[in-house]
């Protein structure tokens, strides 16, 4: 993360950027199921409540059967984002702990 910036001052002034990609890719979940991710939201290095709001806004625009991959290192979001599924008619597929954060997979049901 830090290496992208030339000076420490530029690094402190960095903006919390959330990047979106719609590149299709397949992921194998811990239960062996292979899902095709349609939307990826990368919220690495962003603080509350940005990951939660990004997930909510993205899920609201998605269609039935689409799968969201949310990449974040915010521990509070790990609990909150799966809890979003009840209001947004989605299914929480899995949360995978990686070396520097988590990937949460959610499928839109309706």
């Amino acid at each position: 993360m830090k290496q992208q910036f030339t000076t420490w001052w530029a690094w402190l002034l960095r903006k919390e950027v959330i990047s979106i990609s719609r590149e299709l890719h397949s992921v194998e979940l811990p239960d062996g199921e292979v899902v095709r991710v349609t939307h990826t939201v990368d919220c690495m290095d962003t603080s509350c409540p940005r990951p939660q709001m990004a997930a909510m806004n993205m899920l609201e625009t998605m269609k039935k059967g689409n799968v969201l991959e949310l990449i974040t290192d915010n521990p509070t979001a790990i609990e909150t984002v799966p809890a979003l599924v009840m209001t947004l008619y989605c299914q929480h597929l899995a949360t995978i702990h990686t070396d520097d954060g988590w990937c949460i997979y959610i499928r839109k049901d309706d």
């Binding site: 690094w11 402190l12 002034l13 960095r14 903006k15 919390e16 950027v17 959330i18 990047s19 979106i20 939201v41 290095d45 603080s47 509350c48 409540p49 940005r50 939660q52 709001m53 990004a54 909510m56 806004n57 993205m58 290192d73 521990p75 509070t76 790990i78 609990e79 909150t80 799966p82 809890a83 979003l84 599924v85 009840m86 209001t87 947004l88 008619y89 702990h97 520097d100 954060g101």
Partner: protein
């Protein structure tokens, strides 16, 4: 045969040994073990100096337990309010209600056994106003007072800035200079002077002194049971303080949360057409159990908060003291005591006042006069952080959270950018001011207060929720404005 058994035993031993070496060879596990080891060694050293440090160590170890549960459940009370308004998720609000009900039940048992340490808060408008300012602040810092402590333990340096800001803003606020006298109504000044306080406190100078002596002290402070003159212990502590003040309102809040945030999605998901009482009860249960970590943390925090009161109460009885200041005096540490010979020693989970003492201690040591006010000079004292018992509870929360975060591989150093750092400092400033006006944070003024049968805690929650709502609106406004400045942000 015997040989064979011996071989199996040795290979088992070897196996456990290998597992241990394997566990220990991982850096995070080693760091976690080091933290706990150091706390244990320091505790033993303190006890070997004087057994009476046990009183301080109770705070340390309960702090560690709180920190672990907070980290385990990502028990963030700021998100209890924020997530409701920002994303419509009730998980944390539900967790808080569970913790509250359990705490109140354990507190009832502790109070019946005569070890209660709780003092009710004066009831007045200041609680709602303070809660409002506090609630507005926590949206911007991304964590309440105890949330900031456990997040600091997870390596989040923005939360450490929040702590810094809360500490100094409180110390500064209770010690406002003469310029703030104009802000206090004349009736407060007159009433404060009437109290005949020692001259060195100069109660007629400084807004906070006049607020305390001229306004707060004129208010009634009582638990509901005391107001209703209930004296029979079971009726007083269980039926009134626990059931009527805590469990009943908490249950109503749970039903409201279910109706507002959970019911529609639950019925649709379960494909329930015909709605009946049983299906709604199932829905409420599903809401409570939907986030297991949060529920487990709620149960643990509720029970241990109650046990903490009991442990401190029992120690006070065995030492024959009312306040830790008496013990400190016996041990020869008189420098930090107030003029009454007391220090801040709530005897239960509390966050903000000890942080104000840290700030005041630093400010005093750079030469500022911090004792000519009631808050430090008469009530809480400014002990050295090394002998500040509740202060060690806060440090315990940080260390407990750090230990568990390391073991769960969730520890990560995070350096905030300027925007987050600014929000942390500004939000922390508001939290500090709000906490002092309301006489506590969401733990001291809400959680511990309600659980002990004092309805002023619900007033704090009311203010905090209103402040949280306004905070979310302001935060959304800011985010929208920011989005219009950059293109690649979806928010």
């Amino acid at each position: 045969m015997k040989n064979q058994e011996a071989t199996t035993a040795t290979s088992l031993d070897l196996d456990t040994g290998n597992k241990f070496i394997d566990w220990f060879s991982q850096k995070q596990n080693r760091h976690a073990a080091t933290i706990m080891g150091l706390v244990a060694i320091c505790s033993a050293w303190a006890l070997s100096n004087d057994m009476r440090w046990l009183y301080l160590l109770v705070y340390v170890w309960f702090g560690l337990i709180y920190g672990m549960f907070l980290q385990y459940g990502r028990f963030c009370m700021a998100s209890a309010v924020r997530d409701l308004f920002a994303v419509g998720v009730s998980r944390m609000a539900v967790g808080v209600m569970i913790a509250l009900c359990l705490y109140s039940m354990v507190a009832a048992v502790v109070n019946i056994s005569g070890f209660g340490t709780f003092h009710p808060h004066p009831l007045g408008w200041h609680i709602i106003i303070g809660g409002l300012i506090f609630g507005f602040g926590i949206i911007f810092t991304g964590g309440c007072a105890s949330g900031s402590l456990y997040k600091t333990g997870e390596g989040n340096m923005a939360s450490a800035l929040v702590l810094l800001s809360i500490s100094f803003s409180q110390a500064f606020f209770v010690n406002l200079g003469d310029w703030s006298d104009k802000l206090a109504p004349a009736s407060w000044t007159a009433s404060a002077l009437d109290k005949g306080m020692p001259e060195e406190l100069s109660v007629e100078h400084g807004w906070f002194d006049q607020f305390t002596a001229g306004y707060i002290w004129d208010l009634e402070a009582a638990t509901l049971a005391d107001m209703m003159n209930v004296t029979q212990p079971i009726a007083k502590y269980f039926l009134t303080d626990s059931l009527l003040v805590t469990i009943l309102p908490a249950s109503i809040i749970l039903v409201v949360l279910y109706k507002a945030y959970y019911c529609k999605g639950y019925l649709r998901r379960q494909k329930i057409e015909k709605q009946g009482m049983t299906c709604h009860l199932g829905g409420v249960w599903s809401m409570i159990t939907s986030s297991k970590n949060t529920a487990i943390a709620g149960i643990g925090l509720g029970i241990f908060s109650g046990l903490h009161v009991w442990a401190t109460g029992a120690l006070r009885e065995s030492y024959g003291i009312f306040n830790f200041g008496e013990l400190l005096e016996d041990m020869g540490h008189t420098a930090g005591l107030s003029i009454q010979g007391t220090v801040f020693d709530p005897g239960y989970w509390y966050i903000t006042t000890q942080e104000a003492q840290w700030g005041a201690w630093v400010m005093e040591n750079v030469g500022m006069d911090m004792r000519s006010n009631i808050f430090f000079g008469m009530d809480n004292g400014i002990p050295n952080p090394l002998i500040n018992a509740p202060g060690f509870m806060s440090i315990g929360i940080i260390l407990g959270a750090a230990t568990l975060a390391l073991l769960r591989r969730e520890f990560k150093w995070k350096i905030p950018n300027m925007e987050t750092a600014f929000f942390a400092l500004a939000g922390g400033l508001l939290m500090g001011i709000g906490a002092r006006i309301a006489m506590g944070c969401n733990i001291g003024a809400f959680f511990a207060t309600v659980a002990n049968g004092d309805i002023s805690g619900w007033m704090f929650l009311l203010g905090m929720v209103a402040g949280g709502y306004l905070g979310v609106q302001a935060f959304n406004f800011w985010m929208n404005w920011r989005t219009s400045q950059i293109d690649d942000c979806p928010l």
